[in-house]
């Protein structure tokens, strides 16, 4: 199509059309309806003309290796929007004012809105958009938010047929009452968000602090024992003192023990002092060596055996050793957490779910094969089961490597959890119940923080691993992804993949649904549409690639299905309480803001591992209970004991 071929309907032809369609016998109501229908048709024709013209231009541009300017495309889109606004205004102007009785009747019959999606849009910061569709298929959105005083405010959004935003109106206070009756506010208020949390900072306490913090009860008991022993000791030492006084020597400052931990040492010194004194005294009194040794032993025994000093010393030592070990354990457990590991290494922890049902639930799975993707998500969010996950770095390494994942399509970003085991390769783990996951081919001993960090450092490379088969170790090639067994995972958000055109020559800076093939499919559809339109106007035209209406319809239907499923999945996950994100092939994560009909995805701010490690994570208890009870009702678990475990988890929340 060339610019001369662009057919724009004239005013006369439109009028003729109406004249043809509207019979002079019609009533005012029928006429009004005809006018509305005709005006809608006219706007659709207008939009179609613009689209056809643009497609023709894009085709021409593609042939010559150029691009149609964004500003021109936007200008065309704006004209479409204006046409829809004009049509809306016409409709309002010719709609008769209802009689008061009738108005009352209408008001009392406010119907529940057909809510088709809940999303966000960067044009409406801080708002949640509840999308609705009326009986005529017209999409409306309500961008609702709260002001600084907590009052509701928002906008009504009219969507264009291509899904873009049309006219936007401010919502007034009175509108909210209607929205409540329609169920729109209920949908807004019932969106759960992840829980707030305070990040634990790993700090290695000294043994005294640890004793106070972790062993307070034992410390109190031990202190009482020490007091009792001190009292007994004082009495015994009084005896010793009397004995020494008899020899003319006095041990001074006997009761000045400096503290609990010093007490044993002091007593030991006193014992030594007593021994030395006895030795000097006895030698001065002309005792022989044997007599002196015997007397010394007697004095030492008096101290050692009768007052239980050693027991106290040992108890103190054991107590502080235990406190020290607890301090280290606590320190390590915090360091071992998902959030601290993410902060330390600058990675995202990701739990992916296979899209392909056959791979998602095989014979090793603890849920039945009819468990849906949504059920899997519910189990994860409600039960926080022990799962496997991988860590990924954003961007590429210097040698161009990208962090690998088990499944590339979609998954959950983990904001918290406890790392039980880490491996640079697939652990071949499988679940046994909910809070238990077993791993084959691994050592059972506890791993150090360094072991975890080594596993995290892997980025995409495939390396040799030793695997034991029937007691024989053999070398095999590992996987491109690492694997972590994580207890009590806390979900930060849900993501789906987006594709980008990697070839620098063809890069368009856009993000495409799923992967970059979406772009090529869209381009192919545009080409086919262009060819079909041209064939209609020029029967002698033969496109380079043969095209038929059937093949076009089939491809268009597949394309639309892919986009709809992507959109629906996001809406489903959002309604469960997950904030939404997208991940590009280089593992960069961005806020998800919506999908367009051409298969492009609108993205927002880029996320950092710190955002995930310190942000809200894990669903509130009430929402976990709700999702958990739904799962229990669905009876997805293969074994009764797993279902029972699930029930107990929900009960104990």
């Amino acid at each position: 199509m060339d610019k001369e071929q662009i057919q724009i309907k004239s005013k006369e032809s439109q009028a003729e059309e109406i004249e043809k369609n509207i019979s002079p016998e019609k009533t005012a109501e029928e006429t009004r309806e005809e006018m509305i229908a005709t005006s809608e048709k006219e706007v659709a024709g207008f939009e179609n003309e613009g689209e056809k013209g643009l497609q023709a231009a894009e085709q021409k541009a593609e042939v010559d290796g150029f691009e149609v300017g964004v500003e021109d495309k936007t200008a065309l889109k704006e004209l479409d929007q204006k046409a829809e606004v004009a049509q809306g205004e016409l409709e309002r102007e010719i709609t008769p004012n209802e009689l008061p009785e009738k108005e009352k009747d209408v008001e009392s019959k406010i119907e529940k809105a057909n809510i088709v999606g809940i999303t966000k849009d960067r044009n409406f910061p801080g708002s949640v958009i509840i999308k609705t569709e009326n009986a005529e298929g017209r999409m409306m959105g309500y961008a609702i938010r709260k002001d600084s005083q907590g009052n509701l405010e928002g906008n009504e959004i009219r969507y264009m047929k291509d899904g873009s935003i049309g006219p936007v109106y401010q919502l007034h206070e009175s509108s909210f009452a209607k929205l409540r009756e329609q169920g729109v506010l209920e949908a807004y208020e019932n969106i759960p968000t992840m829980k707030d949390r305070s990040a634990q900072v790993p700090e290695l306490l000294d043994k005294k602090e640890a004793s106070k913090k972790f062993l307070a009860e034992e410390r109190e008991k031990l202190a009482q024992e020490i007091l009792a022993e001190r009292k007994r000791r004082r009495e015994k030492m009084q005896t010793l003192k009397s004995e020494l006084e008899k020899t003319g020597k006095i041990i001074e400052n006997l009761d000045d023990a400096a503290g609990d931990s010093q007490y044993g040492k002091l007593s030991e010194m006193q014992s030594e002092e007593a021994s030395a004194t006895a030795e000097a005294f006895l030698s001065e009194n002309g005792m022989d060596q044997q007599e002196a040794e015997d007397e010394k032993d007697n004095l030492e025994q008096l101290i050692e055996n009768s007052d239980g000093l050693e027991t106290i010393k040992q108890k103190l030592e054991a107590h502080y050793t235990k406190a020290d070990s607890l301090a280290r354990e606590k320190f390590e457990s915090i360091q071992r957490s998902v959030e601290q590991t993410a902060l330390r290494s600058g990675v995202f922890f990701v739990h992916t779910i296979q899209e392909n049902e056959r791979f998602r639930h095989n014979e090793l799975s603890n849920v039945s094969s009819n468990t849906t993707y949504k059920d899997d998500a519910s189990i994860l969010l409600a039960l926080e089961p022990t799962i496997s996950a991988s860590s990924v770095f954003s961007g590429r390494s210097e040698d161009g490597k990208v962090s690998g994942l088990w499944s590339d399509a979609s998954g959950f970003l983990l904001g918290g959890g406890d790392i039980r085991y880490a491996s640079r390769n697939d652990l071949d783990s499988k679940s046994e119940g909910i809070k238990k996951r077993i791993v084959t081919n691994t050592r059972e001993e506890k791993q150090s923080i360094e072991d975890i960090d080594t596993a995290v450092s892997k980025r995409g490379e495939m390396e040799a691993v030793y695997v034991e088969h029937n007691g024989v170790k053999v070398q095999e090639m590992g996987t491109v992804y690492n694997e972590f067994i994580i207890d009590n995972p806390k979900v930060f958000g849900y993501y789906q993949s987006v594709g980008v055109v990697e070839d620098k020559l063809f890069a368009d800076g856009k993000h495409w649904v799923g992967d970059e093939s979406t772009k090529y499919k869209y381009q192919e559809l545009s080409r086919m549409k262009g060819d079909l339109d041209r064939i209609k106007s020029d029967p002698d035209y033969y496109p380079i690639t043969p095209v038929s209406q059937e093949s076009y319809d089939e491809k268009l239907s597949d394309f639309q299905k892919k986009i709809t499923e992507y959109k629906k999945r996001f809406e489903e996950m959002f309604s469960m309480g997950n904030p939404l994100y997208v991940m590009d092939p280089d593992r960069n994560v961005y806020e998800y803001l919506g999908v367009n009909d051409d298969g492009t995805v609108n993205i927002g701010r880029q996320l950092t591992p710190e955002d995930v490690a310190t942000g809200k994570a894990g669903l509130p208890v009430e929402k976990r209970k709700e999702l958990g009870n739904n799962i229990l009702k669905k009876a997805v678990f293969k074994e009764g004991k797993t279902a029972k475990e699930a029930e107990e988890i929900i009960e104990n929340l």
Partner: protein, 68 residues
Amino acid sequence: MAKLFLCFQFRGADKFVKDLIVDKYQIAWEKFQEKMNNLRKKQKEVLTRIFEKLDQQKLEAIRKKLQK
């Protein structure tokens, strides 16, 4: 359009009401048509501009080639 709307017959409505509605519809329709015509004109301008820009780009490319 005036002719179109004046020839309507409204069952059960007296002439006065009919005239009022006709006027209202007619004004609204004419306003809509005026807006649409304006938009068509602008749409044509934008599309023409797009093609002109592409032609210009092509000419530039050819010119550059010839200069080499």
